[in-house]
């Protein structure tokens, strides 16, 4: 928690060297305090987790191609979907945007040299690694088949490797909390001169709201998992009905974290969409303050609705009614966002580059995911749909159609700035088509399956569901293929991509004002912000020039005009 940090070795980096090359060697990465390098290390880790989780997802879908045993035994199947859920949630989605892209761009967009606590930042990365290792060891040597939610009483009686798995999640939680603490302090205390709150990029607002949830909700997950561990070792009897405890209380505890955690996952996705939409519409974002405040209110309202995960769990009817009514509140700020994005597009000069395609995909899919969420918030409808594939489809529309599309959109958008390389736009678009089509085929058929009554997490199913299951599995493989193309495209860019100019999308965003490759201190000269990040009308021609600065000849252009 201490603030003092020794002056870094790269403090006197030769001018002109980017953050990637000014220091070399493994040690310069492992002990780096540079938020950009830490962000990249996070990026590598979460992508690895995404790959693992994705393979698990494909295994699940392959097993479900036919009724009965296809690939694996029922017991293995239970473990595989648990792994898919736990890896995707704890190792991929939650850290994906904040810890990787957020870490990289938050200080740059604030015009500062680093986050407030660089050592804490590196520490949180290693805590993440430790948590990941503990969780994966539990998976490999143990027998974790509780699902990612670890519901009691099953988890309290299941294999003892659940203790290791929950310890892993416990540790990962602290990584998340420390990132949140770091970001809030950075946003409050480290903004460049002239960057007041009303000029803050909406990506920062999204990160800020996310961080508030991380700080306030994640500790409750920690205590929940801690109590579960105590239940398994000391039999404290808080969640065990046989000892006078209450398994539904576990669900309260778990969802007090995990519902806000849904906003930890989706708010950063929304935050990226703001930036991308503004850049590729070349327009000031419509209703800036409304969008900013909707992030904050989503973060706060997200704390009031956790009970809608438990309508059929045996809560008192009185409580279910309150939670149901409050759930609809969430639709308001979400609606504000979607409305403002669409309004920003209106009369903008839109260019359909690949980041924009993913962001538009986000808006469409998130809208479907959000609206089906409202169905589930209605008490009577939820009785029918609870724990069916409808729920699975709903949250995949939000988590994959939302967060993953947002993440991928941001990755495409900032790739040239991060790596200094351009990628093949053509391949990116081909990948987008596969991902978009594959995703919808996979999960739309699950909406239908769920409404017909197919329960989630089941290993076997009735013959009547087979065509839809097959469609869904087919879609999953298309989706997987799309991601493979994307992976190929990015690797190709790293190996043989063209050199990227500083501002390839002619964006007015602050992060494009710095050089490519980025200076180790983000900006060669500390910037002073004199305009907002979406003030296209205030930008000079030079600022928006997409090519290399040396190609820019304002006098010639003026002469032509």
């Amino acid at each position: 928690m201490t603030a003092e940090v020794a002056p870094q070795p790269h403090a006197h980096a030769p001018t002109g060297e980017g953050y990637l090359t000014h220091e070399r060697g493994l040690k310069s990465w492992l002990f780096t305090l540079d938020h950009k390098r830490i962000g990249l290390m996070y990026l590598g880790s979460v992508l690895l987790a995404f790959l693992l989780g994705g393979i698990m997802a494909l295994l699940v879908r392959a097993e479900l191609l036919f009724p009965g045993e296809t690939l694996m035994e029922a017991d293995t199947y239970n473990q595989v979907f648990t792994l898919h859920g736990a890896i995707m949630v704890f190792l991929f989605i939650i850290p994906s945007i904040p810890a990787a892209l957020g870490n990289f761009f938050l200080p740059i967009m604030l015009g500062t040299k680093d986050v407030a606590f660089p050592r804490l930042n590196l520490g949180s990365f290693y805590i993440y690694c430790l948590g990941a290792i503990v969780a994966i060891v539990a998976i490999v040597i143990g027998h974790v088949d509780t699902g990612w939610t670890f519901y009691t009483p099953y988890s309290a009686r299941a294999d003892s490797s659940v203790i290791w798995m929950t310890s892993g999640a416990f540790i990962l939680g602290f990584s998340s909390i420390l990132t949140g603490v770091n970001f809030i302090a950075t946003v409050h205390k480290m903004r460049a001169p002239g960057l007041h709150w009303k000029r803050l990029p909406l990506f920062i607002w999204g990160m800020y709201a996310t961080s508030v949830i991380q700080v306030l909700a994640t500790p409750v997950l920690a205590i929940t998992l801690f109590l579960l561990m105590m239940e398994k070792t000391l039999t404290v009897g808080i969640f065990d009905p046989a000892l006078g405890g209450d398994p539904v209380l576990f669900q309260h505890f778990f969802w007090f974290y995990s519902h806000p955690a849904v906003y930890i996952m989706i708010l950063p996705g929304m935050a990226i969409v703001n930036e991308v939409i503004a850049t590729f519409s070349h327009r000031k974002i419509f209703g800036y303050m409304f969008v900013a405040m909707s992030s904050i209110s989503l973060a706060l309202v997200g704390f009031l609705v956790w009970g809608h995960h438990m309508f059929t769990a045996g809560m008192s009817e009185y409580a279910t009614m309150v939670f149901s009514a409050l759930t609809f509140l969430v639709a308001i700020p979400s609606g504000v966002k979607v409305f403002n994005w669409v309004a920003t597009l209106y009369q903008g000069s839109i260019s359909f580059k690949s980041p924009m395609l993913y962001s538009l995909g986000f808006i469409a899919l998130f809208t479907i995911g959000g609206l089906t969420g409202l169905f589930l918030g209605i008490l009577s409808v939820d009785i029918h749909l609870h724990d069916t594939y409808f729920v699975v489809a709903h949250f995949h529309y939000v988590m994959v159609g939302g967060t993953v599309f947002g993440f991928v959109s941001g990755l495409h958008y900032w790739w040239p700035k991060m790596t200094g390389k351009m990628y093949s736009e053509k391949l990116a678009r081909v990948a987008f088509v596969f991902v978009f089509v594959g995703f919808n085929v996979t999960f739309f058929s699950q909406f239908v399956l769920g409404s017909q009554g197919m329960p989630r997490r089941y290993y076997d199913y009735l013959d009547q569901f087979q065509p839809l299951h097959m469609t869904s599995s087919g879609g999953a493989f298309i989706l997987g293929f799309g991601f493979l193309i994307m992976l190929f495209m990015f690797v190709k860019s790293l190996v043989s991509g063209e050199k990227a100019p500083p501002n390839p999308w002619s964006s007015a965003g602050y992060e494009w004002m710095t050089t490519t490759p980025i200076h180790p201190h983000n900006f060669a000269e500390p910037p002073v912000m004199t305009r907002g990040p979406y003030d296209y009308h205030l930008c000079t021609e030079e600022e928006l020039f997409p090519g290399f600065p040396e190609d820019f000849k304002p006098s010639e252009k003026a002469a032509k005009a």
């Binding site: 928690m1 603030a3 205590i223 009897g237 006078g244």
Partner: protein, 258 residues
Amino acid sequence: MAHADHGPKYLAHHFDTPKQQFESAKLGMWLFLAQEILFFSGLFVAYGVFRTWYPESFSVGSHLLDWKMGALNTVVLLFSSFTAAMAVRAAQIGEQTGVPEKDQHKLGGRKWTSIFLIITFFCAAGFMVVKYLEYSHKIHVGTLPGQFFGHPGFDMASVAGAEFYEEMEKAGALAYESGGHATVPFHLRTFFGIYFVMTGLHGIHVLIGMGLLLWILKRNASGEFSAEYNTPVDIFALYWHLVDLIWIFLFPLLYLID
């Protein structure tokens, strides 16, 4: 980047001013403390649920705790909080060489920082000793959580069984049925589950605090802190006060149930 005359040695390179650095550190610590509050909140919620469900077990359970021990520990911890605050004050004043004696603050400077920190450390150690006495007594007589409650499997005629019986009788926890069998409230085990988790987690925080304290003490002894830079002492004390705050609630909620 001309960092040669960036500022004093303690100023990290990415901060512009000591004030910015200080305020960032403070804010970061307060965010962390808010996190701690939410961390403990789960225990308080569980406490609330089970106290409303099992009021009698909680009342009896509380009589099985020694409130005098709890009160003693409260006083010890409050005093340690006081000395921690005094340590921060001493560090904020810093060395007063060159200041005329009449203008000097009393009890200021590095020496007094160390003295107050050491007192705080011993208070913390005292707290843990009392905790140890309480725990060992409970483990001995079998007022333990869940399945361990009442040493299941022990013969009641054994020493442990008889001691458990006596302990229950002393607290008025026994009810007699028509058959002559004595029973104790079933949910006492829940009370002790909550008691051990709450005080245990709090105790772990005390231990962590003691570790941090030694580290701060060492840094203070090496002369790292001054009137201009004493942030680590300050934010350590914040942590310590939070540990105290939680105990302020734990004491009446666990030991003093009517």
